[in-house]
């Protein structure tokens, strides 16, 4: 399906043009330009949702142009059911990031807004790129703006955090570059991601390539032993930086696994599954435990991200419909929910200039609206049925159940712990007695902050109650990935639906299962 309008180029270039423009204006106009650019970008991205052909597993909105002739590298973009929700999540979040920084960023506003806009362009580019070199360029181009966002506008320990973030991610991704070059020569002298996903590679080569991919993607996710940059970066980054990091950047690692590792290296992916599952479960439990012990709100959310992203990698390596769809759902949901939590922290930090839980207790009385938002985001984060996170985590757990019951039991621990640390946090922050000297600072959320938070609340319930629009769009693409990893996947999918582990408690999840089984059966001869 081709469209005459270059949707994706517009999506990528508009923020970049905006970034160039803000350098030439005053601070107040810089904010307006940044807001306008992100909002228009959102408006451009919305039609894609409806124009997208949900029945197709092919790349859509394709664009292709020769970029470098020797070796032939193309400027090639396209979206499928996996990248579409992620692009939309990005475009939804970016205006909110601009809004939350409206007053909290006072120095070098132009540069700050320019960095946000460059980030947006690069992030959309990463999700849309269909040429491996183009992907890598976008992937790496994000490093410098993010480094500056943390290092220039960050907290007290920002220099350390920024450098740590930079070196961790750079070291991971340079190995990716070598892997890309090796793939070029082994996969038929092309950087086309789709062609490379069709080729077959020897087992030993897959082993090494998987490790190289792992180095790049696992650092970004971040998976268990490589996660230590995350709490530092999250805590020191300004609010918008934390939101971008948690909501979008972490997804890129998981996206890398599902877009590259699984389809290109199916054999290695299978043989590495036990390791990936173990690391994921460690991340789920360890992240949750660490979150329990945090006194700093941002650190708490950072560790909860480690835990939640553990579900994503767990689901991805189950190689069944529920697991991978659940993982992609969880990616989107984590972006929305954790983005919301970080925005909440940003709101309170603007008032009390402290992120410590002990300094921000008892907010319900002085800030009732704020407390409501916080409770909603926290409940969503712990996976309350009816909210978005429930759908993703539940599907991941079902997918895991089919593979190993012990793994499922262990991963479920993470949900219990999530309930513990989030409810405990809510109990203290929302329902304590505020310190008297803090009271004058505690004014409730204003109009701008309402506008920032409400869209996420709407999305939380919309996705929580009606996940099907997203699931149906991603379904063919996910099946394609599974068919690459397990050529016998269709039969497996149907056995899965015959077991039908969906309890009929939540209507819409069952709906999903119906869709899954219906489509799986439909393919049976």
């Amino acid at each position: 399906m081709t469209h005459s309008f270059p949707w994706l180029t517009a999506l990528i270039c508009l923020p970049l043009i905006g970034a160039a423009a803000v350098f030439f204006v005053k601070d107040s106009s810089a904010r307006l330009i940044a807001l306008a650019a992100t909002v228009v970008d959102l408006l451009i991205s919305l039609p894609l949702w409806w124009l997208f052909d949900a029945s197709s597993s092919h790349m859509q909105f394709m664009e292709s142009a020769l970029w470098i002739s020797s070796p032939s590298i193309h400027y090639r973009l396209g979206l499928d059911g996996i990248s579409l929700p992620l692009v939309l999540m990005t475009t939804v979040l970016m205006p909110l990031c601009v809004l939350i920084s409206w007053h909290s960023i006072e120095s070098r506003v132009q540069s700050f807004m320019a960095m946000l806009l460059i980030m947006e362009g690069a992030m959309i580019g990463v999700f849309a790129a269909l040429d491996f070199v183009l992907f890598y360029v976008f992937w790496e181009a994000m490093l410098i703006p993010m480094y500056l966002l943390i290092g220039v506008w960050g907290g007290s320990n920002r220099l350390y955090a920024a450098m740590k973030f930079f070196l961790y991610t750079l070291t991971g991704s340079v190995l990716l570059l070598v892997a890309i070059l090796v793939l070029y020569f082994q996969g038929g002298h092309t950087f086309d991601i789709l062609q490379l996903s069709q080729a077959t590679y020897s087992k030993s080569l897959q082993f090494w390539l998987f490790l190289a991919f792992f180095a790049a993607f696992a650092v970004k996710v971040p998976m268990f032993p490589l996660h230590t940059w995350l709490p530092d970066a999250h805590v020191e980054a300004p609010t918008a930086g934390s939101v971008i990091l948690a909501s979008v950047l972490l997804k890129m690692g998981a996206y890398g696994f599902v877009r590259f590792s699984l389809p290109m290296l199916p054999d290695a992916s299978q043989s590495f599954t036990p390791l990936m599952v173990v690391l994921s479960i460690i991340a789920v439990i360890y992240g949750a435990y660490m979150a329990l012990a945090q006194a700093d709100l941002k650190k708490l959310i950072a560790y909860s991200s480690v835990s939640h992203m553990g579900f994503v990698t767990l689901g991805l390596f189950m190689f069944n419909i529920q697991g991978i769809e659940g993982a992609v759902m969880q990616m989107v949901n984590h972006g929305i929910t954790t983005g919301g939590l970080f925005l909440c922290v940003g709101v309170i930090y603007e008032r009390t200039h402290s992120r410590r839980i002990a300094d921000n207790i008892g907010l319900t009385k002085p800030m009732p609206r704020y407390a409501t938002f916080l409770v909603i985001f926290a409940l969503s984060s712990l996976g309350l049925p009816g909210t978005n996170s429930f759908v993703g985590e539940f599907m991941v757990l079902i997918g895991t159940f089919l593979w190993s019951k012990i793994a499922t039991a262990l991963a479920s621990l993470g949900i219990i712990l999530a309930a513990a640390y989030l409810l405990w946090m809510v109990q203290r922050v929302a329902f304590g007695v505020p310190a008297p000297h803090m009271l004058p600072k505690l004014r409730d959320v204003d109009m701008r902050e309402m506008v920032t938070l409400v869209p996420l609340v709407v999305l939380i319930f919309a996705i929580g109650l009606f996940p099907n629009p997203i699931l149906t769009r991603m379904h063919p693409s996910v099946e394609k990935v599974i068919a690459r990893v397990l050529p016998q996947a269709p039969e497996q999918a149907s056995t899965v639906s015959q077991i039908d582990p969906f309890p009929p408690t939540v209507e819409d999840v069952a709906l999903t299962a119906d869709v899954t089984s219906a489509e799986a059966e439909g393919r049976q001869p």
């Binding site: 970029w67 470098i68 002739s69 020797s70 070796p71 070199v133 890598y136 360029v137 790496e140 181009a141 490093l143 410098i144 480094y147 500056l148 290092g151 220039v152 920002r158 220099l159 920024a162 450098m163 930079f166 070196l167 750079l170 070291t171 340079v174 190995l175 570059l177 070598v178 070059l181 090796v182 070029y184 020569f185």
Partner: protein
């Protein structure tokens, strides 16, 4: 044998540059100080004419002077690069010398003489012509390095450069004489025919190859022949440092590749192994030692050593590959390296503190507040040197690593890339002090960047090169590929 007068037209660019150099040297004493800007214009004009002449010479190879000189695409590529660098050097020097109160008109004469030497080096088809060119280049550079006569560091740099340079020239000459003994010729094509089918079993050939490698190793400043580089780069006037780090390195690579491909191409497998060791040592030492430098010029010196290591990856790959993609990657790397390194040195040159050069990395503290645009450009140069897209530095590294992988050495690419990540640390430290540190005293004693039109042109050219070729490298890539296609 009659003198081939017609061949003089082929070396017209060289002749023009030498003539201009002589005119500058003669005019300098008779001109009033206020008129000395004319020398700058004269030099730039000469470069512009030469650029046109060389561009018209980009065609099939033609030999001149009985095979002493060859005019081909390969030489033209390097010459165009050298004109560009020399032009930037003259522009930068114009501002820099004024700040340093060095009013030597003959400076421009020496720049042009060095350029003439480099041009001879890259279009020589005979080892002795190469030697001649490299001596002409070196002698001019020795003088230029010691131009700050009141500064002991500058004199030390000059003396050190001279002693080690003369030493390395001796080694080079010894290698040439041994090669002559082994093959009976100093002409590269004749050498190639003589050693066809031979291996390094012949001790004469073995020693000749090693001595040539060592001799060129000094000129390229690769480990373990790099010791002179940090001291010379630090002590020499910064405009001269920039010229040495970029132009002299490019010309040396140009001659070096021609000797080892056209002359010793039959021994590819053997010298490739030698350069593999040198390359690894250069990457490791250059990057690791750069980590602990506090002086920006020393840091950039080690960085330029490390970059020679990256370019050597392409040379190693070229030794193992049948096609010319390895060679093309070296040319491309050095062309792109030019922009970012020259830009970084230019910013370092014009950062002044109390009438002196602010050449400590700490002097960049808070530069983004005082000079946002210059700080942004320095950021771009640093990011590019670290090899992060979308800058020219990434494109250069991409092609070099690609040739390494093509030659079946992905492990070499892995090692080099890990050290590229290491290098990001010291490049980003400059970014960090510029953007993330508050200046301790916000007084007027803080280092200031002295802006001038010429300096702005230098910054604009280099930054534009870094950004444009980072996003759309096709023209340079094509040029580099065409250039190596004429190498035999």
């Amino acid at each position: 044998m009659t003198f081939p007068v017609g061949d003089l037209f082929l070396i017209l660019p060289e002749l023009l540059v030498i003539t201009a150099a002589c005119i500058v040297l003669v005019l300098d004493p008779v001109l009033r100080p206020s008129d000395k800007d004319g020398l700058v214009w004269l030099s730039l004009g000469t470069l512009a004419i030469c650029m046109g002449l060389t561009a018209s010479q980009m065609r099939a190879p033609v030999e001149a002077f009985n095979g002493l000189v060859i005019i081909d695409m390969y030489g033209a590529f390097w010459k165009l690069l050298l004109y560009f660098v020399t032009g930037l050097t003259i522009l930068l020097s114009h501002s820099y010398l004024k700040e340093e109160r060095l009013y030597f008109g003959e400076y421009y004469g020496f720049v042009l003489l060095a350029l003439a030497g480099m041009m001879v080096m890259v279009s020589a088809a005979d080892l002795l012509t190469i030697y001649l060119g490299s001596e002409l280049m070196s002698l001019a550079l020795y003088v230029m390095a010691g131009l700050k006569r009141s500064e002991p560091r500058s004199l030390e740099a000059s003396a050190k450069y001279f002693v080690l340079g003369a030493f390395s020239s001796g080694i080079l000459l010894y290698g040439i004489s041994l090669l002559y003994g082994a093959t009976g010729s100093t002409r590269l094509p004749a050498i190639a025919t003589a050693i066809a089918g031979q291996s390094l079993d012949d001790p004469l050939l073995l020693f000749a190859t090693i001595l040539l490698a060592v001799g060129f190793g000094f000129k390229l400043a690769v480990v373990p022949f790099h010791m002179w580089t940090p001291d010379v780069y630090e002590g020499a006037p910064t405009s001269v440092t920039a010229f040495m780090a970029v132009a002299s390195k490019a010309a040396s690579f140009g001659a070096f590749l021609r000797v080892f491909i056209e002359g010793l191409g039959g021994l590819k497998a053997n010298w490739s192994a030698i350069f593999l060791l040198i390359c690894l040592a250069t990457l490791v030492l250059g990057n690791v030692v750069a980590l602990v430098q506090t002086n920006i010029k020393r840091m950039l010196a080690y960085s330029s050593i490390a970059h020679a290591g990256y370019a050597l990856i392409g040379v190693v790959a070229a030794g193992r590959l049948e096609n010319s993609s390895g060679l093309a990657s070296v040319l491309l790397y050095l062309a792109l390296y030019t922009f970012m390194t020259f830009g970084a040195f230019a910013v370092a040159a014009m950062l002044r503190k109390d009438g002196m050069e602010g050449d400590e990395i700490e002097d960049f503290t808070g530069l983004s507040k005082r000079h946002p645009v210059a700080a942004l450009l320095m950021l771009i140069f640093m990011v590019s040197l670290a090899g992060i897209p979308p800058t020219a530095g990434f494109i250069g590294k991409f092609y070099v690593f690609m040739s390494a992988v093509e030659a079946g050495m992905p492990w070499l690419a892995v090692i080099a890339l890990i050290f590229a990540a290491v290098s990001a640390y010291y490049y980003l430290r400059v970014v960090m002090v510029m953007y993330m540190r508050e200046p301790s005293d916000a007084t007027d004693r803080a280092p200031q960047l002295v802006m001038s039109p010429a300096f702005s042109i230098v910054l604009a050219c280099t930054a534009a090169g870094v950004v444009i070729f980072g996003i759309y490298p096709n023209p340079v890539v094509q040029l580099a590929m065409q250039a190596v296609s004429t190498l035999r």
